[in-house]
C-alpha cells in the first residue's frame, strides 16, 4: 500500500512538473516572435503612441521574465512584476489573459469552441473503434488470408493518406455527388459524419494493426488452448477470452491518440469549416496574429493531452495486473 501511494505521488509530481514546464514554454513563446509583437500586430502604419498604448494595455511593456540577459551588463534582475509571473497568477485564477484583437477573455473564447472539438474527437474515436475492432479481429483470426491482406492494405492506406486528401474526396463523393451531408459546416446532426471519418481514418488504421497483432499474440496463449480443449466454441474463445485481453494495449493507444486527434482536428476543422478550437487557433489566433489566443489554445490542448495520458496510464495499470506488480 505504502509503495503504491509513493508511486502514485511520484507520478503525480512528475505530471505537475511537466505541466509547469509546458506552461512556462508556452508563456515564453511570444519572446521568439521576430521584432516587437506590438508592431507585428498593429502593422507598419501604426503610430508610436498607438504602439505604446497597446504595449501598456497588454503588459508588453513589462519584462518577460524574472531576469534578463544582455551582453553588456550580464544578468539583470527584473523583480516580481514580469509577464511570466503575471501569466501564472492569472492562470491560477482561471484567467488566460485578454485577446490582442478583440479584448475578450481568452478563457471564454476557448471554452465556447472547445466542446465542438471534443465532440469531433470523440466521434472520430468512435468511428475508428467501429472500423478497427471487427476488421482487426477478422484479420488476426484469419492470419495471412485474403481478409488479412485486405485489412493490412486498408491500414497502410489509412496511415499514408493525409487528412487533407481524404477530406475533399469524401466531400466530393458524399456531399457533392450523393448529397447526403453538407459539404462544410454543421447544419444537421449527421454533418459530423464526414469530419469524424476524415479525422478517425488514420487512427482506425493504427488500431486495426494493433488489434490484429494483439489477437494473433493472444491466440497463441495457453488459456486459449485450455478453453478450446474444454470445448468452448471458437466464437466464444475469440470474443470472450481473446478480445478481453487483447484490448488492453488498444486502450493505451486510444488514450495516447486523443492528443493526436485534438491536434489533427486543426486540419479537419479547416477542411470542413468546423467551428472548433482548431479553427479558432488557425483563423483568429494565427491568422490575425493574436498571440495571446495562440498561447491559450496551445496550452489548453497540451494540458488536455497530458491529463489524458496520465489517466490512460492509470487505467492501463488498473486493467493489467502484470503492469501493476512489475
Amino acid at each position: 500500500m505504502k509503495y503504491k501511494l509513493l508511486n502514485f505521488a511520484r507520478q503525480f509530481a512528475l505530471m505537475l512538473l511537466v505541466i509547469w514546464t509546458v506552461v512556462s514554454l508556452v508563456t515564453l513563446l511570444i519572446e521568439v516572435v521576430p521584432g516587437d509583437p506590438a508592431t507585428v500586430i498593429l502593422g507598419e502604419t501604426a503610430t508610436q503612441e498607438q504602439i505604446e498604448n497597446f504595449r501598456v494595455k497588454h503588459g508588453l511593456d513589462r519584462p518577460a521574465f524574472f531576469f534578463s540577459y544582455s551582453g553588456e551588463s550580464g544578468f539583470i534582475w527584473n523583480g516580481l512584476e514580469n509577464r511570466y509571473a503575471e501569466y501564472w497568477t492569472g492562470l491560477l485564477k482561471g484567467d488566460l489573459g485578454t485577446s490582442f484583437q478583440t479584448d475578450r477573455p481568452i478563457f471564454d473564447m476557448i471554452f465556447e469552441r472547445y466542446p465542438a472539438t471534443i465532440k469531433l474527437a470523440i466521434a472520430a474515436m468512435l468511428v475508428a473503434i467501429g472500423i478497427a475492432l471487427p476488421l482487426g479481429v477478422l484479420a488476426g483470426s484469419r492470419k495471412n488470408s485474403l481478409v488479412d491482406n485486405a485489412a493490412s492494405f486498408f491500414a497502410l492506406m489509412g496511415i499514408s493518406l493525409p487528412t487533407f486528401v481524404i477530406g475533399p474526396f469524401l466531400v466530393y463523393i458524399f456531399a457533392v455527388k450523393l448529397g447526403w451531408f453538407s459539404p462544410t459546416g454543421s447544419y444537421y446532426p449527421e454533418d459530423i459524419v464526414l469530419p469524424a471519418v476524415t479525422l478517425g481514418a488514420a487512427l482506425s488504421a493504427i488500431l486495426t494493426r494493433m488489434v490484429r497483432s494483439s489477437v494473433i499474440e493472444e491466440l497463441g496463449e495457453d488459456y486459449v488452448r485450455t478453453a478450446r480443449a474444454k470445448g468452448v466454441s471458437e466464437r466464444k474463445v475469440l470474443y470472450k477470452h481473446v478480445l478481453k485481453n487483447g484490448l488492453i494495449p488498444v486502450v493505451t493507444i486510444l488514450g495516447l491518440q486523443l492528443g493526436v486527434l485534438l491536434a489533427g482536428a486543426i486540419i479537419t476543422e479547416k477542411i470542413f469549416n468546423w467551428q472548433g478550437l482548431g479553427l479558432l487557433l488557425l483563423e483568429d489566433g494565427i491568422g490575425k496574429r493574436d498571440y495571446r489566443l495562440v498561447q491559450g489554445c496551445v496550452l489548453v490542448i497540451s494540458i488536455t493531452f497530458i491529463l489524458a495520458n496520465s489517466l490512460t496510464d492509470f487505467v492501463y495499470r488498473k486493467l493489467d495486473p502484470r503492469i501493476r506488480f512489475s
Binding site: 505541466i19 509546458v22 513563446l29 493525409p162 486528401v165 466531400v171 486543426i266 496551445v298 497540451s302 497530458i306
Partner: protein
C-alpha cells in the same frame, strides 16, 4: 526483406530521382502562369493538367518532390544526430542524468501533441522553409533519443564494453567506438518512419498556410490551393495528394520491412 519493402524502395527511389533531376523532368516552368489555361484537364501538353493560375501541375508535382525530400532528409538527419547524442548520454551515464533526460526532458517534449508544437513554433517564428525545418526538428528528435537510450542501456552491459573498460578506455571512447556502432540499427527503422512523418508534417503545415509559402510548389500548398475547385477540377488535388500518399507509403513500407528484417521475432507474425 518483405516484398512491400522492395516496393517502398522502388517508389522512394523514383521520387528521389525526380527530385534530383527535376529541371530535366519538368516539362514547364513551375511558376509560369497562363490565365487563359486555368484548370485544364490532363492532356498531352500538360500531363497532370493545369491549376487555378494555369501552371503545369506535373512540373509542380516534380519540383514538389524536391521540397518534400529536402525538408524530410534535413529533419531526419538533424533530429537523428541530436536525438542519438542525447539518448546515448542518458543511456550511458544512467543515474541522475538519465532520470533528468528521460524522466523529465523527454516527457516535456512528448507532452505536446507533435503537430501542435510545430504549428505553435511556426506561428510565432513566422513561415519559411528554414523555420519549418527547425520546428519539425524540435518535435522529431525525442523519438530518436528514446530509441537510442533503450539501445545504449542494453549494449552497455555487454562483455566487450566491460573488456574495453578494463583496458582503461575512456567513457567517450567506449561510447563512440564500442557502444554507438552496435546500437544504431533500430535508428534506421526510426529514420525511415521519421522520414514519412516529416514529409506528412511538412505537407500538413504547408496546407495550413504555415509551411513553405507560395508560389513554391509544396505539395501541401498545392492541395490547399486546389481545394476550392475540387468538385470541378479534381485532378489539381489528386496528383499532389497521390504524391504525398505514395511517398509516405514508401517510407512506411521501408520502415516496416526493415523492422521485420532486423527483428526476427516480428518476422513470424
Amino acid at each position: 526483406m518483405s516484398r512491400l519493402a522492395y516496393i517502398g524502395f522502388a517508389i522512394a527511389a523514383m521520387f528521389i530521382l525526380a527530385a534530383i533531376f527535376a529541371p530535366f523532368i519538368a516539362t514547364h516552368d513551375v511558376t509560369a502562369q497562363n490565365l487563359a489555361m486555368r484548370y485544364f484537364p490532363p492532356s498531352a501538353e500538360h500531363w497532370f493538367g493545369t491549376d487555378g493560375l494555369g501552371r503545369d501541375v506535373f512540373s509542380r508535382v516534380v519540383y514538389g518532390a524536391r521540397i518534400s525530400l529536402e525538408v524530410g532528409i534535413t529533419v531526419v538527419v538533424v533530429s537523428s544526430i541530436f536525438g542519438t547524442f542525447v539518448g546515448a548520454i542518458a543511456g550511458f551515464y544512467g543515474g541522475f542524468v538519465d532520470k533528468f533526460l528521460s524522466g523529465y526532458v523527454f516527457n516535456v517534449f512528448l507532452a505536446f501533441p507533435g503537430l501542435l508544437l510545430a504549428i505553435a513554433l511556426v506561428a510565432f517564428l513566422g513561415a519559411g522553409q528554414g523555420k519549418l525545418i527547425a520546428a519539425l526538428c524540435v518535435i522529431g528528435w525525442v523519438g530518436y533519443a528514446r530509441v537510442m537510450r533503450g539501445q545504449v542501456l542494453k549494449v552497455r552491459e555487454y562483455d566487450y564494453v566491460l573488456a574495453a573498460r578494463a583496458l582503461g578506455a575512456s567513457n567517450m571512447r567506449i561510447l563512440f567506438t564500442h557502444i554507438l556502432p552496435n546500437a544504431v540499427q533500430p535508428l534506421i527503422v526510426q529514420a525511415s518512419l521519421g522520414m514519412a512523418g516529416a514529409v506528412l508534417s511538412e505537407a500538413s503545415l504547408s496546407f495550413l498556410g504555415l509551411g513553405i509559402p507560395p508560389p513554391a510548389p509544396s505539395w501541401g500548398t498545392m492541395i490547399e490551393e486546389a481545394r476550392q475547385f475540387f468538385s470541378s477540377s479534381p485532378h489539381v488535388l489528386f496528383f499532389p495528394g497521390m504524391a504525398i500518399a505514395l511517398t509516405v507509403l514508401a517510407f512506411n513500407f521501408i520502415g516496416d520491412g526493415l523492422r521485420e528484417y532486423l527483428d526476427p521475432k516480428q518476422r513470424s507474425r
